[in-house]
């Protein structure tokens, strides 16, 4: 597997986790307003 693919998968995974955490912490209360 080329290194760019490893970096891409890792970066997108981290982005996804960050987005999910952000939605869990702030997103839901945002929707209620």
């Amino acid at each position: 597997m080329p290194i760019w693919m490893e970096l891409l998968v890792l970066a997108l995974f981290a982005y996804g986790v960050g987005m999910a955490l952000g939605w869990l912490v702030w997103g839901r209360s945002d929707n209620e307003q």
Binding site: M1, P2, I3, W4, E6, L7, L8, Y15
Partner: protein
């Protein structure tokens, strides 16, 4: 509202992906050159003359999973050792051989009994660990032999040491198994008391199921304790391919 969020998230993902690709593009060649230099050193140190490790994929991209080839005239253990040396370089992932096959894994050196096994067998060749009649307590006269066995096993700490008890065929098999097990456990406890760690020791009792080859199962000489030392194989986080048959 939802629509704009999806667009924002997608745009973010594209930015992240672009950043990842740009980073890979900027650092890939340097990583490849560095791994290549270290691999050359490792190959030279392992004596793998003629073996090359290529840190580029077939499409020419930098990768941390090298493809090994060459060194066809070298023996398989040397090639396998070279691959392991390359795999130990920090940052290197899985190592593959250009000419490997599904058979390769089976050719890897099988875990073999260490020399301690021979030392212990030599000790027990002429003498046996004796027990008091019908009981599992070691005869005081045999304590010294247990001392010597523990001393012989010491260089193999980290391996699995199996202590197996056997009996002759007289009496009930059920009680024979129980007696052989408690005798094996007595020896294990004796080894524990002499500083052999518990996590490497296994005690089991086989009763009269495995008499000494060539002996009558009823023969009292079948009452014995056997030791087998099995080298433990370290767990590897990434696979290291070994060369296949040529």
């Amino acid at each position: 509202m939802l629509h704009s969020r999806i667009i924002a998230a997608t745009a973010g993902a594209i930015v992240i992906a672009t950043l990842a690709l740009a980073t890979a593009h900027a650092t890939g060649p340097r990583m490849e050159a560095e791994l290549d230099a270290r691999a050359r050193k490792a190959i030279a140190a392992a004596g793998g003359n003629g073996i090359t490790a290529r840190f580029t994929t077939r499409a020419g991209w930098a990768t941390r999973h090298p493809l090994m080839r060459g060194g066809d005239e070298l023996s398989d253990p040397v090639r396998a050792r070279t691959a392991r040396m390359v795999a130990q370089i920090p940052g290197v992932g899985a190592v593959h051989w250009a000419n490997s096959s599904g058979l390769a894994a089976r050719l890897e050196e099988a875990p073999h009994p260490l020399h301690c096994q021979d030392d212990v067998n030599a000790l027990l060749h002429s003498r046996t660990i004796r027990f008091q009649e019908g009981s599992a307590s070691i005869d005081p006269a045999s304590e010294q032999l247990v001392d010597e066995v523990a001393e012989a096993l010491r260089p193999c700490l980290g391996s699995i040491i199996a202590v197996t008890g056997h009996t002759d065929k007289s009496g009930l098999e059920q009680s024979n198994v129980a007696l052989s097990l408690s005798r094996a456990e007595a020896v294990r406890d004796g080894l524990l008391a002499r500083g052999i760690p518990a996590d490497g020791l296994r005690a089991r009792g086989l009763g009269s199921k495995k008499p000494v080859e060539g002996l009558d199962p009823e023969d009292p000489a079948n009452r014995r304790i056997e030791f087998s030392v099995i080298a433990s194989v370290p767990v590897r986080p990434t696979p290291v391919d070994v060369p296949g048959p040529r």
